[in-house]
């Protein structure tokens, strides 16, 4: 069943439907950095991440404020993420590095794959479980239901969601766990996604 969810749209973040954070427009720091400071995380690797990885990382960290993930073994939490534009923001930056700056940047190139976000989250949490990234034309609750059904056989819990950054941040991650009585049930996904 879906236990916890986090929704980041534009300048607001909701946790289980309640306002968790709102961007301070007078602050010169971007919203991702404001959220990082608000969460009081000390993880220097965060600052090297691209926007897609930062978004996935921060939403997972917010969910962890409500979910005790230490209950799970290191391969019992699977990840499935999707969006419709892949890592295009970083692609544009890498192209700029060789076309305009005349030096292809390896630090940017390594983020020009949309699944790097799952790598960053697995490194942060020492998760060795299943993970996959898909590109969908639009948010699709049915896709996530299918994935949850498939992953039931392989995993005890699921960190999944939609990491859309364009034209503005429209992200949603939920945590679901399989209980003895009820397998993954993600019918609430659609409702939660449309809460903002």
């Amino acid at each position: 069943m879906m236990t916890t969810w986090c929704r980041w749209k534009s300048d607001k973040v909701l946790l289980n439907g309640e306002l968790f954070f709102q961007c301070d427009k007078n602050n010169t720091e971007d919203m991702a950095l404001q959220l990082y400071r608000f969460l009081k995380i000390d993880y220097p690797k965060f600052h090297k991440m691209d926007s897609l990885s930062k978004t996935g990382f921060l939403l997972t960290e917010i969910i962890k404020t409500r979910v005790d993930i230490s209950r799970f073994a290191d391969d019992e939490i699977a990840m499935v993420f999707a969006n419709n534009h892949s890592c295009s923001e970083t692609d544009v930056k890498f192209e700029h590095s060789y076309l305009e700056d005349k030096t292809p940047s390896p630090a940017l190139f390594v983020y020009t794959l949309p699944n790097i976000v799952t790598g960053e989250i697995s490194i942060r949490n020492k998760w060795y479980g299943e993970s996959s990234v898909y590109i969908l034309p639009a948010f699709d609750a049915g896709f996530f239901e299918n994935q949850a059904e498939i992953l039931q056989a392989h995993t005890k819990a699921l960190m999944a969601g939609w990491l859309q950054l364009l034209p503005e941040t429209d992200a949603f991650i939920y945590f679901a766990e399989k209980t003895a009585e009820e397998p993954f049930s993600t019918k609430k996904i659609l409702q939660a996604y449309h809460s903002l």
Partner: protein, 359 residues
Amino acid sequence: MKVYLGAESIISPSGNAEECFDKIKEGIVGVKNYAGRGFNKESFCLSSFEHHNFSFTQLLKDIILQSVKCFDEKVLTSDKTLLIISSTKGDLSKGYAQALTAPATAIQKDLQLKHFPLIISNACASGVMAINAAAHLLQKKKYEHIIVAGIDLISDFILYGFQSLYALSNEASKPFDKDRKGINLGEGAAAIVVSTQSSAFKNECYRWLGGCTAGDANHISGPSRTGEGLYRSVIATLKESGLTNSDIDFVSAHGTATLFNDEMEAIAMNRLNMQHIPLNSFKGFFGHTLGAAGIIETAMCIQSMKKNVLLRSVGYDDCGTSVPLHIIEKNTPEKINTVLKTASGFGGCNASLIIQKNS
């Protein structure tokens, strides 16, 4: 529910699946040196289409039609059929934000597919993961047939990127060899039909037994020193398949010919106690075709099973890993019943699958 696969098709600079099989067998190298392709006009060895006058979408369409022709063309427009596309970068001529969705939109319209294609983009593990995703969707009865197509083309973007990581070789690549210097990029497309109905295949089909992924939780662009993710992926795939390591007749490894990747794979295979099993890398012939690699190489595994030949690992001469592997040095006639295919990619993702003769 049993899941079958076959109708394997390849469009590569070296030809189709049968032509590639014959060329590897005859010792013909599939890569060549291209002068001036690097960022500062360096030369690199690539497997590249010589006369590039087709679009990404045209190549994708061609490979789908070629594969489905060996199956049942009527299923293409069925509600019970899905297309899965595996690609890392898609069609960059459509702009970065639409590079993957634009060709999928075009192909759905052109081939009158009932469902929007499912696109998987998981770095170099994409192809193997796409086949596993197809099999798992079929097992859950979401569809009856899934066409899995892998495709990536060489671009300045990809070339300069790998060059910036010092990962490319200007000589024909030598996976697992002591003199390996890095990757040869390759391009191409491949498709396989995965289905619940063995009778729908026009030629021999094979069983898919299991396939799982695992993360390294180590580094986003460097492989694990201990092979942890690959080790865990293969353990999970063996378990799902109901097999043990001694059931595997042949391993089609990832084998990119970088120092760290090949070393990681050797360590993982030894931890799995599979170092004695005949193993090759197809990348010495095809180059590294990124999102297409897992499907091209699975198609070649099927060819090897069909023809009962263990194909040599192109470019390999001397052991170049700290722990030994049984690299196939000469083409060897052998009955191949069960094959393990592995792949690893940036993000620390590792995938594997097991296929078996359908007896």
